[in-house]
């Protein structure tokens, strides 16, 4: 009897397998601002609808009619659940919710006074999302957090003065996210990758300063990453581009070259098919189309709202689960270790960019508010630091007189017990270390901040 009842209740809604879930907004999208959150992901009055691509005439089913706003849908690996960001009532903060797509039952994931948005499923029943932090001492913008899908075991994973948004998860298990420095001054957004425990954060893709990253990125089944970016040198056209996972920094392809108009989002369906939201002119709303990334042609229009824009679309289906990466983070450890093999290796791979190392060269470690110390570099260009964990810092090379020779580089941080290596300083991201014993690792690491006495803590044996 009970089972029958449950069955009747759960069968009251039809399966959503194969349906497309779209975010629909009243506003025309004029600009993007992932730092303040006043547009793009934070579109007041936006809503999620489900459309059946096999029945083009059907009225879309509203999924979030009890919310003031909802956006950023993300489908679970088994195709049975959906995460999204929503405002329950006008003026409320944005929070993450999960929907059982069979029963349409909703469960809150986050509950906070600050805004949470851009959720993405992680393997192992967890998710990553962006959240603002009030009075953040690290001067961050939106920070990345992970938690279980029931909201428990909340973990902050980014610790630098950057704002992160638009996260997705690569097949290799790492989080792909848009990061933009916000302190001491704003910089262009970059595509960053990091492990779900916040370790091994590094640059994945960056164009030039004239380019803005406008959408969440998705990995396709054939090893491409697709997203939307605008190029100020090209009439601020919002173009659909792809990069190769294998070589992201040098593989960009403008899939929409020759197509007038703007793209707002893209979602991979098959190797030969994308869902894109597109408009011909700025005066129009975005509509949903098929797109062939091989022929680079816009296909049929799937759905068009008479008076609203389709901001993004995802397909409800079971899909390959990303790898679940193990974590080296140990909350009982207060520091991380940073090893650099040779500071003389900087910039691109051109031999012209090999910095000539001089005796007496040092590195200065710079914190958010003050210098954290100066450390001698070994004769072979190597250094080895033990740094307070979860603390942002930059590095710059200085000579014996304290004159800056190179840098400072980007903000980085180490998680507790993280061990991280660099081939050089802000080096070409395609170079690997030379196989040699670095002088720096023959000694104990230098503790940073250097004014602190040696940090005594538990030792963790790796292997």
């Amino acid at each position: 009897m009970v089972l029958s009842g449950i069955c009747l209740i759960s069968c009251g809604k039809k399966s959503m397998e194969g349906m497309i879930i779209i975010t629909v907004a009243d506003d025309k999208i004029s600009s993007t601002d992932s730092i303040t959150g006043k547009s793009w992901r934070y579109v007041p009055g936006s809503h999620l609808y489900a459309i059946d691509p096999g029945k083009p005439g059907n009225i879309p089913e509203s999924l979030t009619e009890n919310y003031f706003s909802a956006c950023s849908p993300e489908i679970s690996f088994d195709g049975k659940y959906m995460l999204f960001a929503a405002q329950k009532n006008q003026g409320d903060s944005w929070q993450i919710w999960e929907m059982n797509l069979a029963s349409r039952k909703l469960s809150p994931v986050t509950s906070d006074t600050e805004n949470s948005f851009d959720p993405a499923y992680l393997p192992g029943g967890r998710l990553v999302f962006s959240r603002t932090i009030a009075n953040d001492s690290l001067k961050s913008g939106h920070t990345l957090f992970t938690c279980n899908t029931d909201g428990t075991n909340l973990q902050r994973i980014t610790f630098n003065p950057h704002s992160y948004s638009g996260s997705s998860v690569l097949k290799d298990g790492r989080i792909l996210t848009i990061g933009r420095q916000v302190f001491p001054k704003e910089s262009s957004p970059e595509m960053m990758v990091l492990r779900p425990d916040g370790t091994k954060s590094e640059l994945f893709y960056k164009s030039n300063d004239e380019v803005e990253l406008l959408s969440r990125s998705w990995e396709t089944s054939d090893g491409k990453i697709i997203f939307i970016e605008s190029d100020k040198n090209n009439g601020i056209r919002k173009r659909l581009v792809s990069i190769s996972y294998n070589r992201p920094l040098h593989s960009i392809v403008d899939l929409s070259s020759g197509i007038a108009g703007d793209f707002c989002s893209a979602f991979p369906v098959d190797p030969g098919r994308l869902l894109v939201t597109y408009r011909t002119t700025e005066n129009e709303n975005y509509s949903l189309f098929n797109f062939d990334p091989v022929s680079r042609e816009l296909g049929d229009q799937i759905y068009k709202s008479p008076d609203k824009s389709i901001l993004e679309a995802v397909v409800v289906r079971e899909h390959e689960r990303q790898k679940k990466l193990p974590s080296e983070v140990d909350a009982g450890v207060k520091t991380g270790l940073l090893f650099c093999q040779n500071i003389a290796i900087t910039g691109s791979s051109s031999p012209d960019n090999i910095y000539s190392l001089s005796a007496g060269d040092k590195i200065e470690i710079i914190g958010v508010d003050s210098s954290l110390g100066v450390v001698n570099v070994e004769k072979d260009g190597s250094f080895y630091l033990k740094i307070t964990a979860d603390m942002p810092f930059k590095l710059k090379i200085i000579d014996a007189a304290g004159k800056t020779l190179f840098g400072p580089g980007s903000w980085i941080w180490l998680r507790p017990n993280e061990r991280r290596g660099c081939t050089g300083c802000h080096e070409d991201h395609e170079t690997v270390p030379a196989n040699r014993v670095a002088l720096a690792v023959k000694n104990q690491p230098v503790t940073v901040p250097v004014h602190r006495s040696r940090i005594k803590e538990k030792q963790v044996e790796l292997e």
Partner: protein
Amino acid sequence: MRKILLITGTVFVLGLIISIPGKKLARDHVNIKTAVTDHPLLCTNCHLHIHKRSPFAGLDKVNYRSPLNLVVSNDGKLIYVAAQDGNALIVANVEEGKVIHEIEVGNKPHTVILDKSGKKAYISNQWSDNVYVIDLREYRITDTLLTGNGPAGMSLSSDEKFLYVVNSYSSDLTIIDLETGIETKRLTMGNNPTGAALSPDGSDLYVTSRRANIAHYGEPLVSELTVVNDKTKRIKAYMGMESAYLMENVAFTPSGDMAVVTLVRPKNMVPSIQVERGFMMTHGIGIVERKENGRIIQLLTDEPNAYYSDPFDIAITPDGKRAFVSNSGVDCITVIDVDSVRSLIAGSTPEMLKLWPDHLGISSSYVIRRIPTGANPKGLALSPDGRTLFVAERLEDRISVISTDKMETIKTIDLGGPRRITVTRHGRRLLNNAGHTFQNQYSCYTCHPDEHEDGLVYNMASKDMGRNITNTQSLRDISDTPPFKWNGKNQTVFKQDGIRFSTVLTRTEPFSYPELDAISSYIMTGIKYPPNLRFNPSGKLTEAQERGKNIFERTKDNLGNIIPENNRCIFCHPAPYYTNLKQVDVKTLSASDDSILFDTPHLNNIYASAPYLHDGRAISLEEIWTLYGKEDKHGLVGDMTKNQLNDLIEYLKSLRSPDYNDKSSEIHEASIYH
């Protein structure tokens, strides 16, 4: 019938025991045996697949073929395949796509080559120390040529009067006069040589080596490419391939202006703190410019976020336009545009050429395709017209046929092995595949080639980054010698390859328990020592070895004083594995080591495991005592004469797997009586 009754009865009885009242006992039993606390309670995991002395051991065994290398007939209609586990030369018809003949050969055949007429084949039997000569018209073995230890790659001299055989275990080259069938010369090669090829003009034989020259940790890593003058049969050059090893094979461009080898560039001296950014292994090719002042250039075939591990063989099309490399760790063939390589080299300054070996992005200028294959692609062979590439898919038991124009597989040829993949076979596939390391950067095979060890010492970055450097240990026949690791902290393979393994080494999703079961099954039951045909072929020791045995087992020193029991060789190293499975302090800790006791290593085939000691500081067995055992804490040796130490070393080199002591054993018969 016996199998069925045994299995059914045991499953029934164990089912009763393990049901409710016995579940806790079973849980405790499994926890103890696996050294982990969450292994599923499934009796067959251990008792059928892992315990080699279980009554059920071997019930799941099937005989696979495991094609390793192959060659194509002159008319392109037939392929001849060396089936490593099938101990056979398999002949297959390409057009029909099926096996037409099979000839039983020696133990672990490695390479097959043909003479120019195509009527005669030579197949090297790596575990039998000989080469079979086969008449292909009658499919008959016509002669057996004796070689050095571990014959692998081969080539005929330009006049076809001599056969060059690379002896992979004794690290030398046998030159056989084919008129008499007798070895006329033995030349020293690099460390663990395998691949051999004669230049197109017939002037030079190139021989690759897999292990780097033995050197102390921290010294530059150099592997040797040896050039032999075909006319004089003398060594013409020793060329060092810097920062590289595992040079499995070599091929020439048709004009002969370049020799190209496959290679791996390990990062054993870089702290193993991450996999990202090529911190563990990179893979590629080495190019030798064959001209005066010619350079040796290395290029990677990896990409910034994708690694193509364990390159094995290389074949270059007759028009010289394309080179194909089998990446046995990622199941694909990398296609290289040779002209693009030439352009890159021509347009690069000497400084740029120094950068390219450590540059992951440069491959996009010459790698034009990755062609997926079946499991563990090894040997390659091109048809005479260059339009078809044949790939020995070793752990798939088949040959894939690839169109070099379309650069895609057009058919496969099944070699007749069992279609069922046993748990052990699955484990072997896992061990040889890089899919369980982050971005496929390396497989178990990379550091354990042929399930042995790679002769390198690694900075495992334990605790601090410069501490506890570690000599790679062999995986051969270790089922009876737990615990594992130098410090003996891992009691089982389940623990060794569990969550910590993935956290600090592979840095990607851990093995699932079915995968761990498979890996354990292969490691615990499937990896044998090669026969010690070099130092102990028959079990009868030489006089020197006998004297060394007496020293090994002695209880009194040269002055007649009783040696304390725990300072006798035999105390810690008793037969048959020559380990008492205990941890001990032999005073070889260095300042950069944590204070640990060392798990007593097993000694069978110890001659093949240089360097020695936990950090590889002893580059020979002698050095263990002459340089690092002066305190007499690693056995009493201070009283020995030089001759006595030499005798002891000779005895140690004679130690071999107990499998070979049983003359009726399958493995013994296969090696000794062929």
